[in-house]
């Protein structure tokens, strides 16, 4: 807290900065993912969670949050006041989220079709049924958004609308991930054969290599703003989330890299899911694509391009400042992104 004055003097800042940094190791980690919820369904390692609401939902159709497969779902429910899920609940939405869980060694055989086809179908079906609705709105984030797009391209019967946060659709771009995975000498099958599930340490190492100076940059940011307790809690919560990663189920990783990255099959209309063609032109539901200007993981054009391919007439693009994660959990998000998403779902619920 900053006391009675909204902004402390430089001297006060240094005093607080030093006090906070010296006590950083012993500082209690902020509790993440605290919005009350119930597990309403589970299969294999994944669970469907429903956020509790003190009052009955105001809108007819529920919202299903689909996070990335390799990050924990609670990035969308990071801290009180920094929770997209809690915001949507407060806006009267009935909110569900897929918690993909932690794959076991046997999940090396779990395929992309199992996840994007069967599991997502089950999550949508259960969400709609539990909420007593015919369809659900879907909010996909990062790889979760890509999974939702692929699913919608094959079976969109239960999807009322599709909102996508930094969800790559075209994988041939000028980003580092595209260059690395499309390199002729990179063989995902060899990695999967050696490890089974692709270890999160390997994935995290690759993500660090996207911007190797990021660790140093974060340390300087921490030093700069350590006087601010709110910043410090947010920083520690994000670090907790950032180091709580999940290994990628082997077979799923192999198809994801070969079909989506190396062949760019989704945007070319050549991808198949559960034996059926996944054509973006088959998507007719309302679509809302959100991209971030400083996203080093998903270049904004590789996500925006979806709008050029869907048949939907009700399609919109929101381009915001910020990075891949910060733009979703920041204070600015609570004033820009979150209200925009809540309004999108509300207006498509009539």
């Amino acid at each position: 807290m900053t006391g009675s004055r909204p902004y402390p003097s430089d001297r006060e800042k240094w005093a607080r900065r030093l006090a906070n940094l010296s006590g950083l190791a012993g500082r209690a980690r902020p509790p993440v993912g605290q919005t009350p919820h119930d597990c309403v369904f589970e299969e294999n390692k994944w669970r469907l969670l429903r956020y509790r609401s003190a009052v009955a939902p105001r809108w007819r159709r529920p919202v299903l949050l689909v996070p990335s497969l390799i990050n924990r779902h609670y990035v969308m429910d990071l801290l009180p006041g920094k929770s997209l899920a809690a915001y949507l609940v407060a806006e009267g939405h009935d909110v569900f989220v897929v918690d993909w869980g932690t794959p076991g060694d046997e999940d090396r055989f779990l395929g992309f079709d199992d996840v994007a086809g069967r599991y997502l179908d089950r999550a949508l079906r259960r969400t709609a049924r539990i909420a007593g609705a015919d369809r659900a709105h879907v909010l996909g984030y990062c790889l979760g958004g890509t999974l939702a797009v692929v699913h919608a391209a094959v079976q969109q019967g239960r999807i009322a609308s599709l909102a996508l946060l930094a969800a790559p659709v075209r994988f041939e771009d000028d980003g580092p991930l595209s260059a690395w995975t499309r390199s002729a000498t990179f063989r995902p099958d060899a990695v999967v054969r050696a490890f089974g599930n692709v270890p999160w340490q390997l994935l995290q190492g690759a993500f660090h290599m996207i911007r190797p100076t990021l660790g140093l940059s974060k340390s300087v940011a921490l030093l700069d703003r350590a006087w601010n307790d709110e910043f410090l809690d947010g920083f520690l919560a994000l670090e907790t989330w950032g180091h709580d990663n999940v290994s990628f189920p082997g077979a799923c990783f192999e198809k994801y890299i070969v079909e989506l990255y190396k062949r760019d099959a989704l945007v070319k209309g050549e991808l198949r899911l559960l034996g059926r063609p996944a054509r973006l032109s088959a998507i007719t539901c309302p679509v809302y694509v959100v991209t971030f200007a400083h996203d080093g993981i998903v270049p904004h054009e590789s996500a925006r391009v979806l709008l050029d391919h869907v048949t939907s007439l009700d399609k919109h693009h929101l381009h915001l400042a910020g990075g891949h994660v910060g733009a979703v959990v920041s204070r600015a998000a609570s004033k820009g992104l979150w209200p925009a998403l809540a309004t999108f779902f509300r207006d498509r619920d009539r």
Partner: protein, 106 residues
């Protein structure tokens, strides 16, 4: 502007320039080719070692790690199919209750 602010600004400029420079190299085929090859060789060596151990273990008539993984996965798949059947049953009951063509179906 305080000395700290000034230093921070310089740091940000340096960090951005360095990150761009490093990215240019990490995306270069000169780096990517040999790195991919080295990873591939390391992965193949690990697989060969694991296969040799599994061969020894299997030779004793014991189930290997891969055998156990496959069995566990098949059990999960069986559970998944049972859930599919439950859902079909639910759909059939729903159809009987509400035969409207507008009800979402797979």
């Amino acid at each position: 502007m305080t000395p700290w602010d000034l230093w921070k600004k310089s740091f940000d400029v340096w960090e951005d320039a360095t990150a761009r420079y490093v990215e240019k190299w990490t995306k270069s085929p000169v780096v990517l080719g040999p790195t991919g090859l080295a990873l591939d060789v390391a992965m193949r060596a690990k697989s060969a070692w694991d296969d040799a151990l599994a061969g020894l273990w299997g030779g004793l008539g014991l189930p290997t790690k891969r055998d156990q993984e496959r069995t566990l996965f098949l059990i999960q798949r069986l559970e998944s199919r049972l859930l599919d059947l439950e859902e079909r049953l639910e759909d059939t009951l729903d159809d009987a209750r509400d035969p409207s063509p507008h009800r979402p179906r797979d």
